[in-house]
Amino acid sequence: MRYLTRSPIDPGMLTVEAAGPADGGVASFIGLVRDHHAGRGVTRLEYSAYEPMADGEVGRIVREAEARWPVRVALRHRLGSLEIGDIAVAVVAASAHRAPAFEACRYVIEEVKRRVPIWKKEFYADGSIGWVDPTATARGDQSRERPDAAALGQVSE
């Protein structure tokens, strides 16, 4: 697998992977494990995935971005047990100029959240455990509605 890892993510290495001497702009997004979610204290979490599909879907998203903008994209998503402050995901988009780098970076992280089969189990400060369902909260915690199966199915056709 190219995009999923059980080891700590090094954003600097991803920048080296994405950027060459012709690149002047590098936009990055790093997702960190927060100490709270929907008003509850979080102590750690575990990411799991449908691994072969997740890796393939990330690859499709990266190729879409590289076809749409003059960019090179590097990405890693962590799996397994993570502590507060750990990097869960890092996306780096390098381009000659900053506008396509920003746009591609944003596209990739939005699509990763929307399309890649990864799940997150949160361990709360009160000792309870829960699977995160971004479609169940109305707290403005997520910026996207749940995509319906039909919409995602069309992506693959």
């Binding site: 997702g31 449908y50 599909m53 959240k113 399309r115 799940w119 319906d148 995602l152 693959s156």
Partner: protein, 88 residues
């Protein structure tokens, strides 16, 4: 060109909360063909104890690609039922 109404063998994968609800991560099902993903889900929910706790219209994938519930499945397909995604 329509397939004869023979039995199809498909592998059904369950993840995260669906795996916990159904008490299993993988089952092999023999479903009457022709069948769609929705047919496979219906067959599974009716055939296994506890499987009806999985939603009747989940997000799904066929052979590791997102698929609509009306996608027609083939013998040997790997069908996955995907709880709400939470990556990133």
């Amino acid at each position: 060109m329509s397939a004869p109404a023979t039995s199809l063998s498909v592998k059904l994968l369950l993840f995260a909360t669906y795996a916990e609800l159904a008490g299993r991560e993988q089952v092999t099902l023999e479903v009457p063909g022709p069948a769609t993903v929705a047919d496979v889900v219906r067959f599974f929910r009716a055939s296994w104890p506890g499987a009806d706790r999985v939603p009747d219209r989940p997000m799904a994938a066929v052979n590791r690609v997102h698929a609509r519930l009306d996608t027609v499945v083939s013998d040997g397909d790997e069908i996955a039922l995907l709880p709400p995604l939470a990556g990133g």
